[in-house]
Symmetry: C2
Subunit: 421 residues, 2 copies
């Protein structure tokens, strides 16, 4: 966090690089703390795509004021960019890029690129590495790299050496898809076009990295059982944070309410064998943990394209084997724990062996069940057309809690009938 | 997943771009399915940093065989790269980059760059955009961009227009730090140097994006309560997967064992008021969920630099207010649920109001406690010198399960004494 006093204390030569590399939220904070005259200078330093982020970062009532600080050309660019959804390719792109015509010679193009580059000197990376070949209708025909310009014979035409094997991004494409497109191709920048092929701007890989980090934050927050905050933890209003956390906490709470109903159904058994209640948290949390593991691994593997719908049977087979191994491990540990305590403290009464067996067997079945439920759910969701996000992991745990209780008490009824029940 | 038959069926012009953009694991699979002669052709197509990944992807016994397929120059490069840890800057870098001398003129440098570029034509992005200025000892003095070469007067010396304000990466730097360095600077490639400033190679932003994705997968897997798999879900051996999942499941299980001890401590109370047991899963899971939320949000905010150690008091204040709001929400819902069921089904006996109060108050306290525990733990970990990773989120839930039980039954003893207890 850079304070305005610290910023003002900097050497002017250090201010610009610092300012340009700050996140939009930080730039907004500094700008709003400046007198108008300085604010104007710094707004004009920003590339149009960064200026858009700043304008979107202030309250709507302040936006027109900020736009007015820009020169007319930039204001038009920024206004055009503001029309795009923030999470679309149009919202990510810069409208500034180097363009050439197909019928220029390499020498003419070099000259032309040099002049366009000079204008953007000192700015960020956007305009540097590729020049795009457009026809008179702004339709994208090809791309040439700076290296190609250096290596071409001066008299050869751009159309003869440009690459026409183009990867393009549609202006309305969601930023997640943009990130995916970049991950599939080894380019540092890609052109953004309209449906009829007119070029609107470029997206560079560094913008995409920010998208990837944001997405990561959202994924993790949802996996932690909360709606994505979309604002820094210390900045978001408390009621807003409570609302975002409360909605999910409430949904999970309502799911967990079925545990009270499930246990209520077995209340007579609990009354007769109170010892059974002691292991309820241990057993259901183990099922929940096993379910979280499986759903997390399968959903992530789906997101990475390692697992597809067609692999459902392979996944189930893997989870059956793994679930049995893990269940046996936990069941055996539980058995040993109970017998050990029984031997030392005589904690669990005359039927301790049967109790231990019930707990151990329940652990095997519930850990297996957790793994199966957690791995099948993502397939069901995808089959129904939903995107199985890691967001559903907390719900898997809740589902396994409820069903795990039923499994535990049903097994207890079978094993303990005639002795404790 | 590309099968060798599909690959062979492709037009030769399509094979190369496809092959170059596959992940190393896929390249290994295709290579191992080819006859030696073809394998040699495709090994030689790879850039040295990609060849390293392939060599590391085959069993140790096969490695020498693959290295022998390379020409001597590349073999030396690859062997040098193999000496670096896979997750270090050296393990990420390409040893191929364009170099110039400081006492060349712009015209000489352009010529020199052109010749070096021609040699790497058709390769991936590595060598394209910057030329590095090295002295006779290979020490890095500066960098010039392709754009600067285009715009310079032919007779000016490289040393006069090169940028000397350099961001460099040390060859032993961990890949996570490399990713962080890129996120702080707007460059698409950075030079890798030794401690005494000799240049060893370059890392490009697209390699870093892969690191970020891998890191994301690890974070998510750990948050799901499993060790990071480090291999695709469908490829990893079942015993290996069971070991990676089992170690964490076991750790959580051992933590949860304390719930049995805690409940055992209150066994007499449970026997007298069985109805208390019915709400155990509901109450402890709500505490666990609240704890997961708070720890996830705080840990992520720390990782993003939004929250520092000095903010501990701000965080606690926020969590107290949020926890009270969320606790009140859940407590009230629980109260209504119990009174409603009591009104309709008479489920909870003559002291239902007191039971409802106990549950509601416990929810308030435990949700608050979960939020506090979940947000304080990351500060404690960081203070002790550990990196609080989202990995500890499942353990927070376990900790809150155990302590939540104690809170619940202690409150019950106070509220229900003289009536049910």
């Amino acid at each position: 966090m850079v304070k305005i006093a610290d910023f003002n204390a900097l050497d002017p030569a250090e201010q610009q690089p610092l300012f340009l590399h700050l996140k939009a939220a930080q730039q907004v904070e500094l700008l709003m703390a400046m007198p108008i005259a300085e604010r104007k200078i710094w707004m004009r330093v920003l590339d149009p795509d960064d200026a858009v982020d700043v304008v979107q970062g202030v309250p709507p009532s302040e936006r027109a004021g900020l736009l007015d600080l820009l020169d007319r050309f930039s204001r038009n660019e920024v206004t055009a960019l503001l029309a795009y959804a923030e999470d679309s390719a149009g919202g990510l792109m810069s409208p500034r890029y180097v363009r050439v015509r197909p019928d220029m010679t390499a020498a003419e193009a070099t000259n032309y690129v040099r002049r366009q580059s000079a204008r953007s000197a000192g700015r960020t990376v956007e305009t540097i590495h590729y020049a795009y070949v457009l026809d008179v209708e702004q339709k994208l025909l090809g791309v040439i790299s700076c290296r190609q310009l250096l290596s071409s014979q001066p008299e050869v035409l751009v159309s003869e050496f440009m690459s026409t094997n183009l990867v393009v991004i549609h202006e309305q494409m969601h930023e997640k898809e943009v990130a995916k497109t970049f991950s599939l191709h080894p380019y540092l920048a890609l052109p953004v076009v309209t449906t009829d092929g007119r070029m609107k701007g470029i997206v560079t890989l560094d913008d995409v990295v920010d998208v990837v980090h944001e997405q990561h934050t959202k994924d993790i927050q949802k996996m932690g059982g909360s709606e994505a905050l979309d604002e820094p933890y210390l900045k978001i209003g408390l009621t807003k944070m409570a609302r975002k956390r409360g909605s999910w906490l409430m949904a999970l709470f309502i799911g967990e309410m079925f545990t009270a109903s499930a246990m209520g159904y077995f209340e007579a058994e609990v009354a007769k064998a109170v010892v059974l209640a002691l292991f309820v948290p241990l057993i259901i949390s183990s099922g929940g943990n096993s379910g979280s593991q499986a759903s997390t691994l399968v959903i992530r593997a789906m997101a990475l394209g390692e697992v597809t719908l067609a692999d459902w049977w392979k996944v189930i087979r893997r989870e059956v084997v793994t679930g049995l191994m893990l269940g046996a491990l936990l069941g055996l540990t539980g058995l040993i724990r109970i017998m050990l305590w029984q031997g030392v403290f005589h904690t669990y009464g005359e039927h301790a062996v049967l109790v231990a067996l019930t707990v151990a067997l329940s652990l095997v079945v519930i850990v297996l069940w957790g793994g199966l439920a957690g791995s099948i759910l993502p397939f069901v969701m995808r089959r129904l057309g939903f995107d199985p996000a890691t967001a559903c992991t907390p719900f898997v745990a809740t589902f396994v809690d409820v069903t795990g209780l039923i499994i535990y008490f049903s097994l207890a009824k079978v094993i303990l009938v005639g002795t404790m029940l």
